[in-house]
């Protein structure tokens, strides 16, 4: 009976299946190019913007495409291109910081959990299970309702929402590696737990962890953009891409460029990241035959 129980797998394995794909390689290249472009925009945005971001430059609101204003103007007559370039900083910057923190903390907890005695592993896993059971948007909503929407709080919210996911992925990899013999050898040599975690286990899961980091980045971009869209994210006068969609939503019935462009911008960012990650992970999978 015990062997049967050991063989029934949990739901999360379905998510692992979803990573399988085999698109043509040039898609990955496109994804890579898009990601690099966005990184550059995030770094250099304010200097690339043709007009100051808050200045009303045109008398026409919701203008369409023109050479002076390639992305049109918004509901107050401000240049959309400049606003998008500056807004990108918030979107990409916040999400990157949050993703790196979530991944690092999640992986750290997973390593700690794997080399520690069973009871500590159980406690950490139960806490993470509980957090993962709250949908990320819900968690973000209640954190905002409790603490408000400052930038640091938004980062904190995103990190708390996505640590459990990163923990789960890292832990399942670490558990598989820990069962391998070279880790057993290190243990029988009397190595300290820190050594086993950092020198034996971590280097062998670095690639999947980085892939997961990329995925988290994508999720966090969507989360923060969604929150800003609801008015609960980045607050005025700062604006990220989601807020830009929100403030110009009245132009939707006119089909104004000011609404479409920021939404498209977010779309290209997340799709580019996903394409790149898909390509990298399937190449690694084919080469090494998995883990």
């Amino acid at each position: 009976m015990n062997t049967l129980i050991a063989k029934s797998k949990p739901a999360s394995s379905a998510l692992a299946l979803a990573k399988v794909s085999n698109g043509p390689p040039w898609l990955g290249l496109i994804g890579g190019v898009v990601c690099v472009a966005w990184l550059l925009i995030a770094l250099l945005g304010p200097w690339l913007a043709p007009h100051p971001v808050g200045e009303v430059v045109s008398d026409n609101v919701f203008e369409g495409f023109s050479l002076a204003h390639p992305f049109g103007t918004d509901y107050l007559g401000r240049d959309m291109l400049s606003r998008v370039l500056v807004g990108a900083r918030f979107t990409v910057g916040l999400a990157l910081v949050a993703a790196v923190l979530a991944s690092a903390l999640g992986t750290g907890c997973a390593l700690l959990s794997v080399v520690s005695p069973k009871w500590l592993d159980e406690i950490i896993s139960r806490i993470m299970d509980a957090f993962i059971s709250i949908p990320s948007k819900m968690l973000a909503l209640i954190m905002v309702s409790a603490f408000g929407s400052s930038v640091s709080l938004l980062i904190c919210t995103a990190v708390v929402s996505y640590i459990p996911g990163s923990f789960r992925v890292a832990r399942s990899m670490a558990v598989n590696i820990e069962a391998l013999e070279y880790v057993q050898v290190a243990r029988t040599r009397g190595e300290s737990r820190l050594y086993v975690a950092c020198r034996e286990i971590l280097p062998n899961m670095l690639n999947p962890v980085l892939t997961d980091l990329g995925l988290r980045f994508g999720y966090i971009v969507l989360l923060l953009a969604g929150m800003s869209f609801l008015g609960l994210g980045v607050q005025p006068p700062d604006a990220d891409l989601g807020s830009l969609v929100r403030e110009n939503i009245s132009g939707l019935s006119q089909g104004a460029l000011a609404v479409i462009v920021p939404a498209l911008a977010i779309g290209t960012l997340t799709v580019g990241v996903n394409l790149l990650i898909d390509y990298v992970s399937s190449r690694r999978g084919r080469r090494s035959g998995g883990q």
């Binding site: 029988t188 062998n204 080469r287």
Partner: protein, 613 residues
Amino acid sequence: MTELIRVQDLRVTACGERGETEIVKGVSFVLEKGQVLALIGESGSGKTTIALALLGYARRGCRLSGGVVQVGEHDMLTLGESQLQSLRGNRVSYIAQSAAAAFNPAQKLIDQVVEGALTHGLGSRTALQAKAVELFRDLALPDPERIGQRYPHQVSGGQLQRVMAAMALISDPLLVVLDEPTTALDVTTQIEVLRAFKRVVRERGATAVYVSHDLAVVAQMADRIVVLNGGEILEQSATAPLLEGPEHAYTRSLLAAARPDGNIRPACVVSEDVPLLSISGLTAGYGSKSADGMPSIRVLEAIDLTVRRGQAIGVIGESGSGKSTLARVVAGLLPPSVGDLAFDGKPLGGSLAERTPEQFRRIQMVFQNADTALNPMHSVAAILGRPLKMYFGLKGAALQVRIGELLDLVRLPRTLAERRPHELSGGQKQRVNLARALAAKPDLILCDEVTSALDSVVGAAILELLRDLRQELGVSYLFISHDISTVRALCDDIVVMYSGRKVQAGSRQSFAQAPYHPYTDLLIHSVPELRQGWLEHRGTAVAPLPPMGARAPVPHLCTFLERCPLRVDGLCNRSAPGRHTLANGSEVLCHHDSAHLLHSQRQCVSVKTGAYA
């Protein structure tokens, strides 16, 4: 005689990321109707690829790029997919290596057995089912009427393999391809399966291609042998001439590896003082602990073992015997539930936390699978350097010198130090594994099936190395294996385990002839010998088992009860067997005494030589 199979200049190309490589380079052979041809080679020689090409099938990432594969009147390489489909499972059948993987876990066995024939319209369902039951009977499966109603996981490995044979033979094919069908089975199960296959194939006059890496098995089954290496044929001839006088050097090395060196170097000096390792009354297992501290799955039961300085003890057992668990307990990876361990006179803690650093250093373990025993992200120098740093505090130049010495000791070139494990071959990795264990200057090395995952030629070289190291360094071994010939080649003393119990223990000489424990007898006589006709003679020595009544609810009853040919109703199922010493000096766990065992087992021997036909 008609030529049924004709393969000419077959080429198969693999399309990888780095372009195309030819994995089968122009192979040609012929086979007449009713003959059995063996394709023998080590892993990577292309034998499975050729076997699949006989069905016109290439695995994902490979394609059949040239040549002629003539089966009967069809050239498989010129046919389209739908034509191939109509031939597969109909005129040409395939028996896979792993039966457990080849069956759909959610369907009954009988449905899968008749499926192929049904799709090809070879009869009605009832007729085919009756035929399947007939085949089950011919293959000596238990309960042939009802075994088809079971699901794959409800049937044992050896039985499943025979069901797969029934699945292949139900369509009365012209050609049957058997792809390493017994490699995954225990030696004692293998022999029944081989016997069944041979009888059924002969009876139906089927033509067969048998793929294997084991020369002894192939000697029993095949009329012609083709030796493959690296996708090319090195030698092909009829079986008997090949076994007596092979032409190619590679074939000769295969033969040498199949017969491990019988002449052992003179035994090393074994000291008589305090034993290095002593295990007494060991019981261990896995799973949650019950109220009295006993684990729910008991793997080892009341084991006593002593290893002296300079001694090599071999532990033999099949799957489920608990031999690997024994190694893990000694290494400290699994705490014992009951029993004591002592190392060099001092108590040895059960878990890692209870051991001293000196004890860590002096007991080292070498694992079976070198792929998972070496960290893929560390270079060889890093792998060897770590224990040197930890145990001896070596640094800088002294460290490099010692690493070089270790590589010399295991006969690897010093230039390997900067490589990573994935750049090394299987044999090289296992040597690095060994070097890592030697780096700590241990007194006892636990070898857990170190040659089982390696090709026979490479494995034989590792055994040689182990023997030489023992002479040079005076280190003790606890050598665990499932292969009795390997153990006999290396070790002074042998322990046989079955189902977690030590059933026989004695010196190598005492294992040379009867009397044995009934399980040891079965084990020794199940290992195929490198001569034709062995299987038939062995076959006549097996009679149905003596009848046995119900088991009494007494603890520690004999675990070999179900399969023992010498069991006695009323004795073996009612009381636990005791340990006693046989005439030749070995200790057995059995009710029978030396004289009875000798008498019954000598009978078998006489039958074997007498029934020569």
